[in-house]
């Protein structure tokens, strides 16, 4: 066992005063956010396509 490597795995524990940073630094994006984003993007994309087609239609 490599002592130095094992020792390097240990990281300092966050102090209680640093809890706020930990909370703000928490990764809050989940799959539901992705789904929501996809849905939103999908809706936006459809509208863009519709608009583009309209425009395209208008152009044509």
């Amino acid at each position: 066992m490599d002592f130095e490597a094992e020792l390097a795995k240990f990281q300092p524990s966050l102090d209680i005063e640093q809890a706020e940073d930990a909370i703000y630094g928490n990764k809050t994006t989940d799959v539901t956010d992705l789904v929501q984003s996809i849905i939103n993007n999908t809706v936006t994309g459809n509208e863009n396509v519709k608009n583009k087609s309209i425009e395209w239609v208008e152009e044509s």
Partner: protein, 481 residues
């Protein structure tokens, strides 16, 4: 829950949004996945697979960050493993997403309501960080001391225990590996699947009697002591199997024992011994007092007995004297006494017969001091008074006749007899100046003028009224004096 598209509230299990018509079936699947991971984590947590539970809960939250139960459970597991800040963070986030009806409120309040407890947790974290810093800078001893304090304050702090175990394992001391094993065995009960703990246990349990290994190792040059873990020797294998032994022998318990012994001795010397001595002295005094009283009583009895003895001795002596008196004393004394009384009676008889000369001679033979009887003494004195003078006169006449050659000695002067009679006459009556004069004459005639002078001068000097003074002076002149 709300529709991810229009954010309108959607009843549970509704597959489409009544507001915007969004198909929610996939969305529900995602939510369901989050719950599946949460359930999995709950099962893992119940069997204390905390590492697995944390992984599952993180998965669950990745699918649905609003899964409050999963987040709260994650906080609890962090709290169980000593990760206070992580636990608080999860509960605060949980509270952020669900402000009401959230168990995180209770957890947060439980920690924050007790400032002392919060401060203690803060100190534990600071000590752990300090110990980690010390360990990374090569000061393992200091790190071990700090980690001991940390683990004693919070025995469930997994990371601190693991670091302490690692430091023990890296130490050259044989007993330290046993200590590491004990620590790891303790924390594996908290988190049974912690990979770090299992790896360390594997390191400690991977010890087998490999003679060839030791042989090879013995030939290898010794490299850095920090880079490789020291292997247990064959005898140490049993230490990992046998129950845990007490930690390294400390001087403190031994010192405490010595202090205890010294204190005990001091108490005995200053409190118990004086009491015992006092008791012994008291007993000795009582014994001595009793002995003295007995001795005094014995002395008193002895005095009484001596007094009685003396009284009895005196009585015996008196009785003996009485007996002797009754028996007439001893034979010699009795004979003398008898002889004295016989002489006295004889003298008295001669006195009554007017034979004064013989009476006087008999009296003269008597020792007047031997006469204890008053009547006898009286008789003696009366006979002596009457007979001695007459005996002296009679003896003087005989002496004068012997000197002059008259009467009985007619024609034959006998100076020797005259001297004898005259001296005897003086014995019975020293004042008989006639006897003195003729004794002087006798000495003068027998050519002893000095003796004659002596008697003449005595008459002249001592008896100046005597009719013999003139004769004596005349004879002195003859002698040339």
């Amino acid at each position: 829950m709300n529709c991810p598209r229009c954010n309108a509230s959607v009843p549970f299990r509704r597959t489409w949004c009544s507001n915007c018509g969004q198909d929610l079936r996939d969305y529900w699947k995602i939510i369901s996945l989050s719950n599946i991971y949460y359930n999995k984590a709950l099962g893992q947590a119940k069997i204390r697979d905390l590492t697995g539970a944390i992984a599952s809960l993180k998965q669950s939250l990745q699918f649905n960050k609003l899964n409050t139960n999963a987040r709260n459970l994650l906080g609890l597991i962090y709290f169980e493993t000593g990760e206070i800040v992580s636990a608080l963070s999860e509960w605060v986030i949980s509270k952020h997403y669900q402000d009401e009806n959230n168990d995180a409120d209770m957890y947060i309040n439980e920690i924050q309501s007790n400032p002392n407890k919060l401060e203690m947790h803060s100190q534990i974290i600071r000590k752990y960080n300090s110990a980690l810093d010390s360990a990374k800078h090569g000061d393992e001893d200091m790190a071990i001391i700090q980690l001991k304090k940390v683990t004693s304050q919070n025995p469930k702090f997994i990371r601190a225990n693991q670091l302490l175990a690692l430091l023990y394992m890296m130490s050259d001391k044989k007993d330290n590996r046993t200590k590491a094993l004990k620590i790891l065995n303790n924390i594996i009960k908290i988190d049974v699947t912690n990979t770090t703990t299992l790896a360390y246990l594997q390191e400690l349990s991977d010890i087998r009697p490999k003679t060839e290994h030791f042989a090879v190792k013995a030939e290898e040059p010794k490299t850095s002591t920090r880079k490789t873990l020291p292997r247990l020797e064959e005898s140490d294998q049993y230490k990992t199997i046998t129950p845990y032994k007490e930690e390294k022998p400390s001087v403190l318990p031994f010192l405490n024992v010595i202090i205890g012994i010294i204190t005990g001795l001091a108490v005995m010397y200053f409190l118990i011994m004086p009491h015992m001595k006092s008791s012994q002295a008291g007993n000795a005094n009582d014994d001595f007092k009793k002995y003295s009283e007995d001795q005094a009583a014995a002395d008193s009895d002895l005095t009484v007995l001596k007094s009685q003895n003396e009284t009895l001795q005196a009585k015996v002596k008196n009785l003996q004297n009485e007996i002797e008196e009754l028996q007439g004393g001893d034979n010699a004394q009795g004979e003398n006494l008898l002889e004295t009384y016989e002489k006295l009676l004889k003298a008295a008889n001669l006195f009554l017969n007017e034979d004064m000369e013989k009476a006087a001679r008999n009296l003269k033979e008597i020792d007047s001091s031997g006469l204890e009887n008053a009547s006898a003494k009286k008789i003696y004195n009366k006979v002596a008074e009457a007979s001695f003078e007459k005996a002296s006169e009679s003896l003087y006449i005989q002496g004068r006749d012997a000197y002059n050659g008259e009467n009985e000695y007619a024609g034959a002067k006998d100076y020797d007899k005259a001297k004898k009679f005259l001296q005897e006459a003086l014995e019975y009556n020293p004042d008989n100046t006639d006897a003195m004069y003729f004794l002087g004459r006798t000495y003068q005639q027998t050519s002893k003028p000095e003796k004659a002078r002596e008697y003449y001068e005595k008459i002249i000097n001592d008896y100046p009224g005597s009719p013999r003074v003139a004769d004596a002076n005349s004879r002195l002149r003859e002698l040339g004096g």
